[in-house]
Symmetry: C2
Subunit: 192 residues, 2 copies
DNA sequence: TCGGATTTTCAGAAATTTCTGAAAACCCAG
DNA sequence: CTGGGTTTTCAGAAATTTCTGAAAATCCGA
């Protein structure tokens, strides 16, 4: 592995972290390398920098492409494929969340719904269903929140995150307003 | 594996899902089983229901305890250990997030800070640092948001999630207020 | 302290995942 | 077409992770 020390530290750490998620170590390393690279890299450059076999890099890149985490680029007059991560880090976050939702949350929700359709054959099953309904509702809540929030443009999103729990105040106001009788429909927020 | 079909479906799915995260299949299965169980189970009951070896179950339970995901209980007059998941599903979510933060986000933030302290020795390293600063700031933002939001009681949290992107309206109001000249210090939110 | 019940440990076996080199497939300029 | 440069595939090798049985440790009532 022939890398500036600073980069190497990060690449190794990210590889380890990757293996704690579903991603394998080398895929994590490849991604880390591309993330900090000044320009798009081709497969041989990755091989050289990380000391992996050519075929391993090929498979790693294939996987990253399947996740939509790298973009394929071409350099004029060069037939090789070059790979890069999006410049906008928020785009990366969005892709990551989107893909994990697609692969993990959605199938789980489908399964839970199926289970909840079944007729329980015993008190034990009845209890299991009740428990799984709780889980289902939780996932639905998150899922709905996400499809909602995903639309926000990045500035708004950052604003919201920076606000943190201060948003709570708004809820308190909402509560107070709710106590006022005769309140009409609409958004009982600060805009009133 | 001797389980009601409905439970078995869930246990198997959850096991698979577990292995897509850092958790191994059997640990996932044990957790799933405890989650839907009507009462706390002892190790032998888990062995019997999931068809695993006694030692495997022992290690799985140890791991779940290390994650604070199961509580140890005792039945009067019985020397065996019984295990259960918290009844409150939100407690489970909180533990899960807390532990993952501790194991993944915090160490990464530490590493990123260390890297950012170093003096870049080349333009390549300078660029890598700039990129990693972006990542660092992103993690800080999430981390700060989380420490803030974690304090909210569950009702408020659910309220917030249900609200979804409608919270955006509040930001719009905030913007409008900011345009008003001569505004004094304090929180220019609904609470004014 | 003893003895039975229970849990934990751990070395090796089994299963799974990752990695590699060699060969095949692809792709385009000439 | 053809040929060289490039990427992909894939069977087996290597590495890692998971799982097991047997033995050791622990724990507690008598």
């Amino acid at each position: 592995m022939q890398l500036p020390p600073l980069v190497q530290t990060f690449v190794l750490h990210f590889g380890e972290m990757g293996s704690r998620w579903g991603i394998n170590r080398t895929v994590g390393q490849i991604y880390a390398l591309l993330f900090v690279a000044e320009r798009a890299l081709n497969a041989d450059e990755i091989v050289e920098r990380l000391g992996l076999s050519r075929s391993n890099v090929s498979m790693g890149l294939k996987e990253l492409q399947a996740w939509n985490l790298v973009r394929l680029q071409h350099v004029p007059g060069d037939r090789r494929d070059y790979f890069a991560t999006p410049d906008d880090i928020w785009q990366i976050v969005r892709t990551l969340v989107e893909e994990r939702k697609k692969r993990e949350v959605d199938p789980t929700l489908t399964l839970l719904r199926e289970i909840l359709m079944q007729e329980p054959g015993s008190p034990e099953e009845r209890h299991a269903q009740a428990r799984l309904r709780e889980m289902h509702d939780l996932f639905e809540l998150f899922s709905g929140w996400y499809t909602d929030v995903r639309r926000l443009d990045t500035d708004r999103l950052v604003q919201l995150l920076s606000l943190g729990a201060k948003v709570q105040r708004i809820l308190e106001v909402k509560d107070r307003l709710r106590l006022v009788p005769g309140r009409r429909r609409g958004s009982p927020t600060a805009s009133d």
